[in-house]
Symmetry: C2
Subunit: 339 residues, 2 copies
Amino acid sequence: MVATLASVAERAGVSPATVSRVMNGNYPVAVDTRRRVEKAIRDLDYVVNAHARALLHSSSGMVGAIVNDISDPFFGAIAQGIQATAATMNRLVVICSSDGDPAQEIAYIEMLRRHRADAVILVGAAPEDTTYRRHLAVHARGLRSAGSRLVLCGRPAPSRSIPAQVVEFGNFDGSRAVTAHLIERGHRRIAYVTGPSGRTTTRERLRGFRQAARAGDVTIDERLVVSGDFGRDSGYDAVRKLLHNGAEFTALCAANDVMAIGAMTALREAGIKVPEEVSVVGFDDVPAARDVTPALTTVRLPLAEGGRRAAALAFVSEDLTAPVSLGFELVVRDSVQPV
Amino acid sequence: MVATLASVAERAGVSPATVSRVMNGNYPVAVDTRRRVEKAIRDLDYVVNAHARALLHSSSGMVGAIVNDISDPFFGAIAQGIQATAATMNRLVVICSSDGDPAQEIAYIEMLRRHRADAVILVGAAPEDTTYRRHLAVHARGLRSAGSRLVLCGRPAPSRSIPAQVVEFGNFDGSRAVTAHLIERGHRRIAYVTGPSGRTTTRERLRGFRQAARAGDVTIDERLVVSGDFGRDSGYDAVRKLLHNGAEFTALCAANDVMAIGAMTALREAGIKVPEEVSVVGFDDVPAARDVTPALTTVRLPLAEGGRRAAALAFVSEDLTAPVSLGFELVVRDSVQPV
DNA sequence: CTGTTAGCGCATTCAG
DNA sequence: CTGAATGCGCTAACAG
C-alpha cells in the first residue's frame, strides 16, 4: 500500500491538515510538530499524489511536447532545449513522438488535454491537410479555455482563429541563402531533395530554393527535384534515383542535413567526388554535419534556443503580439566548390 | 471554463453517471440517450480529467523514461523504441533528461512517483556513487509498493534488495570483441577514450578493452588511456591531447561512436590519415557511424529493440527471473586497417 | 437502462 | 498554531 496524507497524520498523531502544511511549508507549524511529521513522512516514504493535488488546482505542472521523431537530431536538439528550461522551472516535460502521423499528433494533444497539461508545444513541420487543421483549431480553443498554452515551434502561425504562441525558424530565408551560395559559385544545374509532402517546412524550404533560383536567373529542371522524407535513407535513395535516371547536376541541395549526409554517401559509393564533381548543401546544422567528409556547408538553425524560447513561452501567461522569429546562419564548410 | 461531467450531464438532461457510461462505452446505454450525450460532449468540447480518473484507480496510464541527454543519438534510439511500443499500448511516455546528474535523476523519479507513473524506465549508464544508490533503493521499494514497475535499460541489475526488471546490452563483450578485432590486425599500441567516470557503462566497456588486451598479450600504455564524457567534443579533445603529448599509437578505441567521430575529425585536422596511419573503432553503431569517412567500424547495439523490450517489461506485471541480455554485432567497415 | 450515493487524496476555508 | 469540514471531477456500487 501507498502512504496517504491521512496515514502520515495518524502516525504522527496530528491532523491531515497539519501534514499538508508541513509538506507545503507555506504556513506556520510548531517546530516539534513539524519534526514529528517529517519523521512520519520519511518512515512511511510518503509521496504526495499529484493527481489529488491537480484536482484542486486544475493544473498539473506538466508540459507536453509533440515531435515527429525523437531519434532525429533536429528534434533531439529542440527537445533538449525545451527540457533544459523546463527543468529550471521544475516542470515535467512529456515528450511524445507522433511518427509524423497527423492523427497520432491529434491523439496526443487530446491525451495532454486530459492530463490538464499547462502547455502543449508542437514541434516542427505542420501537416497541411484540412482535417488536421480543423481538429487542431478545436483543441487550440479547448486548451485556451482551460487556461493552457499552445506553443508552436518551427512551424508558422496558423489562422488568426487559433490562439497560439509561435517560434519560427528561417526556413524560407535560409533556404534562399544557401541556394544563392551555390548559384554565386556558378552552379546552374542544381538537384533538390525535398522533405515529406504536405508539411509546412517542406514547402517553405522548397519555396526558398525556387525563389533563389529565379533571382539568380537559373531555371530548375523539374527532373532534378526529387522527394524525400527528411530521413537519411531518403537522401541516399534520392541520389541513386537521380543517377539511375542519368540526371546531370553539379550541385545538390537537400532540405535537411540528414538527407544531405545520406546523399553524400550515395555519391561516394557511386564514385562521384564531393565537392569536386558535385557540391552538396544541407539544412539545420545537426552535429554530424561537422564530422562528415567533406564537412557539410549548411544553414544553422538555433534549434536548442528555439526549444528554450518555446518552453519559456509555455510558462508565461502573456500573449505575444508577434511570432518570435529566430535567425539563421550560413555555415560554409567544405562541401561546395565553384563549378 | 472547462466542461465537466456534470455540465455535460446537465446539457444533455441526464445524470453524470450516464455521461460517464457513454464516455467509457463499457455499459449499456439507450441509443438516443447516447446520441444526446455525444452531442453535448461535442458541443462543450468535453475532455475527461485524467487526474480525477487517476484518483480512483491510483494509476495514470503513463510511464516515465529518464535519460542522460535526449539529444544524444544513443538515447534517441532507445527513447524511440520505448515511445513506439508505448504508443501501441496507448500510453503516454514522459521523457526526462537528467543531464547526467544523479541528483536530477532522483528528483525526476520522485516527480514520477508523485504522478503515480505506472512504470519508471531508467536508461543508460548508472552512477556508481553510494548516495545515489541509497536513494534509488528507497524509490525502488516505493514504486514497488505502489504497484509501479522499475525497469533498467542499459545498466546492470543492482543489488537484490532493489526490485527491478533489467534489459542489458553487451557492453563488456562488445568492447572485448572490437578490441580483439584491432589486436588481430596487429595493433599493439592502442589508445582508449573512456566515458564519464563513475558510471557503469564506462567501467564495463573499459573492462572489456583491458580484458581483450590481456588476452591478446598486449600491454596497455596508461598514457594512452584518456578520459572523455561520451560527448563528441571530448573525443575530439582526447585526440588533441594525445597528439600534444606526443603519444604514439596505431589505433584508437573510443567508448562510443560519438566520441570516435569527434576523434576522427581531430585526426583528420592533424593531417593523420584514418585508417592508413591510425585505425579507429567506436561503440553503439549510431546512424552517423555509417556516413563518416571512412565509415566507422563499431559494435552495433540493438538500441531501439532495447527500448521496446524495456517498455514491454514496463507494461507487464510478472517479474522476470533473469535480466534480458541483448546481443551485439561487430560491424566491420572501413576505419580499421592492419598495421 | 438510468439515477443516487459515496469516496478516491488533498488543500483550503473556517473555527477554535 | 491546529483540527474539522468541504469539495475538486469522476467512477463504481447500489437502487430503482
